[in-house]
């Protein structure tokens, strides 16, 4: 690993040290040549800080007996790997251009004409992911799932290995195997891969025991083969050949979700399956027929805003302020909605409860109330009726405000739990069991998760740091307060933005607690970033390509931080992870009140007063944006600190659906 570093870094001058070494520890004069010595030093510095019980990179086995289990779980990856891997990561990011060139070529030079098909058949977001995805050569799998179909098995192997430490000399066999099994790979690419392989330390024998993930990967591969066979009776030879290639790779482990979902259909996705995938996605509000249909079902007749920005016409946008009144007026008409759910809906709508965690908790507690008051109607099964009921609640909540991803995940969990209840269970027991499930979810996935994140993040704060945060994130606030209580000496820069001014709430509380704060608006970000040593950001969700979905403006902060070479740490509970892949802020977002951005506090009337009805004027107030994983140094979750590329692993290994038995 070390030997291959110098040439890389020489090829790109943008290399820098990021591996959580304070400027003092890693003086700016340090050149690439001494990086070889660095990891050890970094690691040794890292160790005492990471606390006696919790290691930042520790990935516990997929048991879920609560915090204690996690704490005492054996550490599969050497602790020193943090420093190592993060260094690597940055360096590879530096080699962006080079690898881009390399990777851009395969589709063109590939002998198989089918590649083009694959490219065209993949939905836009997947194929386009290459533009945004991380471009380290051995993370290709995650970043380029759709670019060249032939590379798929290889990629998944490589990408999957990343979390287990594919860069560390632990499992090079996978890499070598990949190289051999690739039929359509270009010479260039092969050379590169081989080089990597050679560079890696001496190979160890293959693991004999198949892990759960391996078995699953195998199963998936078989399934893919089957579907391929079914699809093309007269499948072209490349296809069948391909299947054969896929099958005999039992080591193809750790297929990330992206690769799995798309990789399954690498060999020409079925029309039917594609449809299945695409259809239930989201309501498209620019489709007039569908909007009509939804309107008929809707509880409240919402007036839609007139002029909408073209790109965002598929998102719901209503005339702000009318919704709440109409919903309130119909208070007594809504039979199906439990009062507590109704209250939560109103709170979401009126903005009294905002923020992923708070909304999710409020919703779950309301559901708990509703379940407490629930009784199965005669001649109906609790499992089905309750699930239908919850669906009704959810559609009401959606009408109040689009669901956050955290809520979506919690609903998925809850419905799954209900569906899995044994039919023979008595109603009382079933209700008690679901209620305790909800409690457990809140407790373990949110409250304890936050505590663990705080501990992890605390290890990254040192005396003399200048920490920057944007907006208002509950976890970040907890981290700052915790660090302050543990006598860390640091300064905080709170960056805020119009129109919500959420940062002021944070500022107010932190100042009251005696923390040293600087408050500025996002316009001044480039100026203030000079002095910052770490950026802590919250997230609404982290998507499986490492994209961070968060309050609008986060991407800007992260980008500036990247330009100034300040590490960006995203704090996000693992329950907010989502398997979706999103490349920009356009395809999925939420529109806020467009009038909110017009209001200027110092002026009673907006500058735009009077031209609001002008057809040429369109206002856009986005609520979220997507931060590409390039700008993220690390994601701190309750399962440890990871590079953004490792998100799929967490999602697979710790999927709550599989975990809660």
């Amino acid at each position: 690993m070390e030997p291959r570093r110098p040439p890389r870094t020489v090829s790109d001058p943008k290399v820098r040290q990021v591996g959580f070494v304070t400027p003092a520890a890693a003086p700016p004069a340090r050149t690439v040549s001494d990086t070889a010595a660095m990891p050890a030093a970094g690691a040794s510095q890292e160790l005492p800080l990471s606390g006696s019980s919790l290691s930042p990179v520790m990935i516990p086995p997929p048991r879920h007996d609560g915090l204690s289990a996690r704490v005492t779980a054996p550490v599969p990856v050497p602790i020193a790997a943090t420093a190592l891997r993060l260094d690597n990561l940055q360096i590879r990011v530096g080699s962006y251009n080079q690898s881009e060139v390399l990777l851009g070529t395969p589709p063109m030079t590939s002998p198989s004409s089918r590649v083009e098909d694959a490219v065209s058949e993949f939905s836009d977001d997947v194929s386009a992911s290459s533009l945004y995805g991380r471009t380290e050569p051995d993370k290709v799998g995650t970043a380029f799932p759709g670019r060249s179909g032939d590379l798929m098995p290889a990629k998944s192997v490589v990408a999957g290995g990343s979390i287990g430490g594919s860069h560390t000399p632990e499992n090079p066999p996978t890499t070598s195997l990949v190289v051999k099994t690739l039929p359509g790979i270009t010479e260039k690419k092969r050379g590169m891969l081989e080089k990597q392989h050679d560079e890696a330390a001496a190979p160890k024998p293959l693991k004999e025991k198949t892990t759960k993930a391996e078995r699953r990967a195998l199963q998936e591969a078989q399934r893919a083969a089957k579907s391929a066979a079914k699809e093309g009776g007269g499948a072209d030879p490349t296809n069948t050949k391909k299947d054969k290639v896929v099958k005999p790779t039992p080591q193809k482990k750790d297929v990330p979700e992206v690769a799995a979902s798309s990789g399954k259909k690498v060999d020409r996705p079925l029309e039917k399956e594609r449809k299945k995938e695409v259809l239930p996605l989201r309501m498209q509000f620019d489709d007039k027929h569908k909007v009509e249909k939804v309107k008929q079902r809707a509880i409240v007749n919402q007036r839609e805003a007139k002029s909408r920005v073209e790109f965002f016409q598929r998102l719901p946008q209503y005339v702000h302020g009318t919704q709440l009144q109409e919903l309130e007026a119909k208070f007594f008409q809504l039979d199906a909605v439990h009062p507590s759910v109704y209250k939560v809906g109103l709170h979401h709508l009126s903005g009294k409860i905002t923020g992923g965690n708070a909304r999710c908790i409020a919703m779950l507690l309301a559901f708990k109330e509703a379940i407490k008051d629930y009784s199965t109607p005669p001649e109906k099964a609790l499992v089905r009726d309750l699930n239908a009921k919850i669906s009704g609640f959810v559609s009401f909540l959606i009408e109040c405000r689009p669901l956050s991803i955290s809520m979506g995940n919690a609903i998925k969990f809850l419905k799954n739990r209900i569906a899995k209840l044994p039919l023979s269970m008595s109603e009382l027991d079933a209700k008690a069991s679901i209620q305790s499930d909800i409690d457990r979810f809140i407790n373990q996935k949110i409250i304890i998760a936050d505590k663990v994140i705080v501990r992890h993040a605390f290890a990254k704060i040192r005396d003399g740091d200048v920490l920057l945060t944007y907006g208002l994130s509950s976890v970040v606030e907890m981290i700052l307060v915790y660090a302050h209580e543990h006598k860390k000496k640091f300064r905080i820069v709170i960056v805020d933005s119009r129109p919500k001014h959420e940062g002021q709430i944070l500022l107010r509380r932190l100042v009251a607690k005696g923390l040293n704060c600087t408050y500025t608006h996002i316009n001044a970000i480039s100026y203030i970033m000079h002095e910052v040593t770490r950026v802590f950001l919250g997230a609404a969700s982290v998507l499986s390509n490492g994209t961070v979905y968060s309050r609008v403006g986060t991407a800007c902060v992260a980008m500036v931080a990247k330009a100034y070479r300040v590490p960006v740490l995203i704090c996000c509970e693992a329950y907010k992870f989502h398997e979706r892949v999103q490349l920009d802020s356009i395809c999925f977002n939420e529109l806020g009140d467009p009038d909110a951005i017009l209001k200027v506090p110092t002026h009673v009337e907006s500058y735009l007063y009077g031209c609001m009805d002008n057809d040429n004027l369109q206002l856009l107030n986005l609520n979220y944006d997507a931060t590409p994983s390039d700008y993220v140094s690390m994601i701190i979750t309750d399962y440890g600190m990871l590079p953004p590329t490792s998100v799929p692993v967490i999602m697979r290994e710790y999927d709550p659906q599989n975990l809660w038995i």
Partner: protein, 460 residues
């Protein structure tokens, strides 16, 4: 089963003194006809329209209760489930509530005055109440323009001069919280504001153009506690509401309520975390919550405050209370005039309602915004403008009726002129009577040729 955890109490009142001579033993206030329908029916239909079908109607006095109960069971037999409760006369609104408070079980109680004529959906108040988790939420509407200002006549000369009973209402800048309320006689005095409340909100908006519509949502536990502890409280508006507003920041009441509601959940660190997380972003528009952390008050203190909220009805909504004779005329005029959707009748092309069984003589004109109920007969050359005429009235020739309310079974002889008056049932007006701004009590006989102006005529 209660809908949305709300129970509804309608306070229908009894024989109100300031409505005499219109109200009598035989005709309690609740049954006063507004556009030939008892005023209570407007409230009941409003509630029915909001899907609230289990109601408790409280009436003062046994006799009145029987009358009201009889009417309700006849008119709403299969539509509403109404329990009529009789309370002794003169106990006041708080007393009336006290006598039925033990029957209340739901989380919140919606209390509606029986003399309210409005189209503001009660659900809106209830939802606002729920949303804020308030102790009390009250409906405020813009004060009605008193007097027949649009009639163009000199009607209500002295009434127009008389200042409208102003309410002084203090709101926070977001107009969601009720901070001060002074009504009637209190307005004459200096306004005293509580320093603590003013400090907590920073800014108070004083409004005199709003009126308390007597539609409240109360938290049941708090209401019951107050009723139990404060025996002397007579009226909701004059005692309970000011008390709650006064004690917003240091309330014994809501603490009791909180204890009872939280007794089930054991307090633990996890609970604290949960609350912290779920209230983390709670940016209540009220500066109440914001100001408290600054003054470094403890969490306990924070809980002790409770909220009094308001729902301010939209300007376009109609909202009026039938609490004076002037209001009675105004409401009658409005219900067949500008707020005609409330009356529930369909208007003819001439913008009036004439029952098919009514008979009109030759050259008789019934103008727009008029109502003529079944069985009434008009002679020749009559003129009716902006008036309501009840059932089975017999009206002779050459009669002018302007801006008036004529109830059932009234006999009006030839050549009478009635302006701006209210004529109750079974009244007989003999020939050439001239009435202007008068009220004629039930069964009274006005002798022929007499002229009255701004008088109240009733049987001794």
């Amino acid at each position: 089963m209660t809908r949305m955890d709300f129970e509804v109490v309608v306070l229908a009142g009894g024989a109100s003194s300031n409505l005499s001579p219109l109200v009598s033993q035989e005709l309690p206030k609740a049954l006063l006809p507004v556009a030939n329908r008892p005023v209570l029916s407007y409230v009941l239909e409003l509630l029915e329209g909001s899907n609230l079908k289990d109601l408790i109607v409280v009436v003062e006095g046994e006799d009145a209760a029987q009358l009201v109960g009889g009417w309700i069971s006849g008119a709403y037999a299969d539509r509403l489930h109404v329990e009529v409760a009789a309370v002794p006369e003169g106990v006041g609104t708080a007393g009336a509530l006290r006598s039925i408070s033990s029957y209340l079980t739901a989380n919140d109680v919606l209390i509606v005055s029986g003399d309210l004529v409005t189209d503001v959906p009660p659900g809106a108040i209830a939802a606002t109440h729920r949303r804020h988790g308030a102790v009390v939420t009250t409906l405020l509407c813009s004060s009605p323009v008193s007097g027949p200002s649009d009639s163009g006549t000199s009607g209500g000369k002295e009434k127009a001069k008389k200042p409208v009973r102003h309410n002084i209402i203090g709101l926070d800048p977001t107009r969601q919280y009720l901070l001060h309320m002074a009504t009637g006689a209190e307005v004459e005095k200096d306004i005293r504001l509580q320093k603590r409340i003013l400090q907590a909100v920073g800014q108070m908006e004083i409004r005199a153009d709003l009126m308390d519509a007597h539609l409240y949502a109360f938290k049941r536990t708090v209401l019951q506690d107050i009723l139990d502890q404060k025996d002397k409280f007579q009226s909701i508006r004059q005692d309970i509401l000011p008390y709650l507003i006064r004690t917003q920041l240091s309330s014994e009441v809501s603490r009791n309520g909180l204890v009872s509601s939280e007794s089930g959940s054991n307090k633990s660190a996890v609970q604290d975390d949960l609350r912290w997380l779920s209230q983390h972003r709670e940016i209540a528009p009220s500066t109440f919550q914001d100001s408290q952390p600054l003054s470094l008050k403890s969490q306990r203190d924070d809980q002790r405050s409770h909220k009094c909220c308001v729902y301010i009805a939209n300007e376009s909504k109609y909202c009026a209370r039938l609490n004076s004779i002037q209001a009675f005329s105004d409401i009658n005029r409005d219900v067949i005039g500008e707020a005609s959707h409330l009356s529930g009748y369909s208007f003819s092309a001439q913008n009036n309602i004439i029952h098919p069984s009514a008979e009109l003589g030759s050259k008789t004109t019934v103008g727009p915004q008029c109502m003529l109920a079944e069985g009434s007969k008009l002679g020749d050359k009559c003129s009716v403008k902006r008036s309501v005429i009840g059932r089975h009235c017999r009206i002779g020739s050459n009669v002018k009726i302007v801006n008036s309310v004529v109830m059932n079974h009234v006999t009006i002889d030839d050549g009478c002129s009635i302006q701006g008056s209210v004529i109750c049932s079974n009244v007989q007006l003999q020939e050439r009577v001239v009435l202007k701004d008068c009220q004629v009590g039930a069964g009274y006989i006005v002798t022929s040729g007499s002229e009255h102006k701004s008088e109240s005529l009733a049987r001794k």
